[in-house]
Amino acid sequence: MPKVSALDMPDVPKGKLPEHLEVQRTRVVCNADAPIYTEPFHYSGAFALMGVDNSVTLESFCKNLKIEVIELTEDTMEFDMIGIDASLANAFRRILIAEVPTMAIENVLMVNNTSVIPDEVLAHRLGLIPLNADPKLFEYLSEHDTPNERNTIVFKLAVSCKKGSPRLTVKSDQLKWLPGGSELEMESPTPSAKPRTYTSFSRSQDSMPEFANKPLGVKHQDIIIDKLGPGQAIELEAHAVKGIGKVHAKWSPVATAWYRMLPEVILLKEIKGVDAEKLVKKCPVNVFDIEDVGKGGKKAVVANPRACTLCRECIRGVNEPQVELRRAKDHFIS
């Protein structure tokens, strides 16, 4: 009997990987105790001995990439990415959180703060307030730059609670935008003719065409900044600059960004009758459903695999494997 290589056997597909290896390459199988096949097969020569090319060329990547938007509102977005690797998807997630610039209050010049909240805590709270300003219209402010109308937004907060009146809550709508720049004067060594302020605006920001239609301000008007008792007052000026989330989380544009891999639920054998009903009941997110086969028989089918949260209820405590839970390594959803 002549020796035949296992790869030349009649039932092995040529040029492609055999099915069980294809599952290992593209799917993470989630067993009851731990997931297996999690390592990505990136190396271009991984299957060279079998004659299969594992490389992903630029053309094939561009052809296979698909993006589908599920939901898009002003504050949230949910979309699917198909045909991309986990390393790129994670890089996008990390960049969204840490490296997309926004505007946030950085320097706070305190004139008067007699409230119960200390200066630095109040300044920290002001920094976390989200601002309605497009960072593309601004430049970064570095240490030796002077603050001018192209890199700073100036806000003013001047509130006081009169004696005899009830406690006053200072909300974010009291932050007034000063398009003409800072109003506080710096102390000059010589009493010169014109005192300098803390910013050098050459022109007022509301004369600039970008801000003419949309005045700058805070995004939400009802954020509580501080609470004042009778006789207390706050007077301060806040300067907002452009920054990225890596430096301080106040500059992160997203509340958070996350992804998960597309779940696949495979029924290893036909599940009928009472077993089918038990399986459907086990799943807390209704992944399975009952399909009526003729003569009153019931069969379990996978109705909604996308909802699977990997709670593993369907594979826990079962004697023989009925369900296999898998994740696709190149399909990322939310």
Partner: protein, 107 residues
Amino acid sequence: MEHGSLTDLSSSTFSLIDEDHTLANSVRFTLNQDPRVQFCGYSIPHPSDNKVNIRVQTTGDPAKDVLKDALQNLMLMCKHVRTTFDDTVNDFRATEKVEHIDINSDR
């Protein structure tokens, strides 16, 4: 910064400053797709320093050129993802006909 041997240009370690897993993992992925690469990997010597060491060993070509090509590929891949994403979002907005949502249209 490249640490390598003067005689053997096909293997060297590149030390990048101000980078982290974001770039290093993506570059490792694109490097692996190149058939000239025999081995590639990255490590972060200490999480407090912002440094990444990328090791490239090739089948003969200078490691510097292979890394440059991989970075170029990565840039083109990201550009393609961006254009696909923009097109998909524009199509979605056009089909949804949202009038009351105030999003910048130059996004």
